[in-house]
Symmetry: C2
Subunit: 206 residues, 2 copies
């Protein structure tokens, strides 16, 4: 039997993750204690800590799983022939839907992603590198089609949009934007601004 040890480890980790899915979605993250998690997974409390360093790490792993759905949805929109702005809006809308439906998870996820407290660096980075991989091709295409300046570094462009999205989500979390509709409108306005520029159009240059 090739590696009983490995096999067990994989099974235990899976059990923890499954327990997490079950308990987090029913009781919420805060209301789920490590002890709960352990007994639901049928293992001892200490064992959990030989698979995850902190509770929040379990949470991130959980989120990664949940986000696969979103990711799939995003990939779908990717091939449709719309103007860049609409594509971006569709994608971020998709993302926001998840947050809107799971505010608790969304909040914690964004907290950890943007201002990570633990040493989740690799993990948190992996999480939004996914976005990079997803969006960069889209931006490249937009460049080719003349919807986007070609002299810009795509990383920065991506950061630009992502920053605006973050700001809007934060505004929703803090109650400055109330409905899903508000969020979308604000996002649209900001993206429009970003594309057209905040400075008045030059009379004609060159």
């Amino acid at each position: 039997m090739a590696g009983k040890r490995e096999q067990n480890k994989r099974r235990t980790k899976l059990a923890i993750l499954e327990a997490a899915v079950r308990l987090f979605t029913t009781k919420g993250y805060d209301r789920t204690s490590i002890t709960d998690l352990a007994s639901e997974a049928g293992i001892g409390k200490g064992t959990i800590y030989s698979y995850f360093r902190k509770k929040s790490e379990i949470f991130l792993a959980f989120c990664e799983e949940q986000l696969e759905v979103t990711k799939a949805a995003i990939i779908q929109t990717e091939t449709s022939p719309m103007p860049l702005i609409d594509r971006l809006l569709a994608i971020y809308h998709q993302d926001f839907r998840f947050i809107h439906q799971n505010p608790e998870f969304g909040r914690l996820l964004m907290r950890e992603t943007f201002f990570p407290l633990d040493l989740n660096l690799e993990q948190s980075r992996r999480l939004d590198n996914r976005y990079m991989a997803l969006l960069v091709p889209l931006l490249q295409k937009a460049q080719l089609q003349g919807e986007l300046r070609r002299d810009l570094e795509l990383t920065l462009v991506l950061g630009h949009f992502y920053g605006l999205y973050t700001m809007v989500v934060s505004a929703w979390f803090t109650g400055r934007l109330l409905t899903e509709e508000d969020v979308l409108m604000a996002l649209h306005a900001l993206f429009e601004q970003a594309l057209q520029g905040l400075a008045p159009p030059r009379p004609h240059q060159s």
Copy 2:
């Protein structure tokens, strides 16, 4: 003695805050327990909770105090006659200096400000309403001087810049940007992008 009660309350609250300044700056936030705080302030543990609802609230109050310095520095730059982008950069640079020097506080502050967990809503809102009050006049002036489109809602413009700033700070926290210099350069590039627009300049419109 007009209101011994009020007097005592004020004194106690001050004592807590002073203890917070002393302990947070020497031991850090996490390493300072509520009990530490209480004994340093010369009061009982429970008393703290009749002045602050959560530990994080003490922290925010502490930050508000620390940020007065930054605020003052910002006000100074406000009257100098530079192009909008340089002014903005100066301001955010100032702000980042605080974060750079106090990463732990900066991180927690931004976490609470953007994705508040407790019911700090009023407090967290107050914190960045300050920025509004500070920056809006600057933007208005820029509008008058033709550096900024006049058809834009200033709230959105402000959100735009703030969002970009946040993104850059987050990139620093997550190790994507390493030095203070990197941060400034990225911020400059993003602001430039925002002003000029991401879309290619229209040949000539209207």
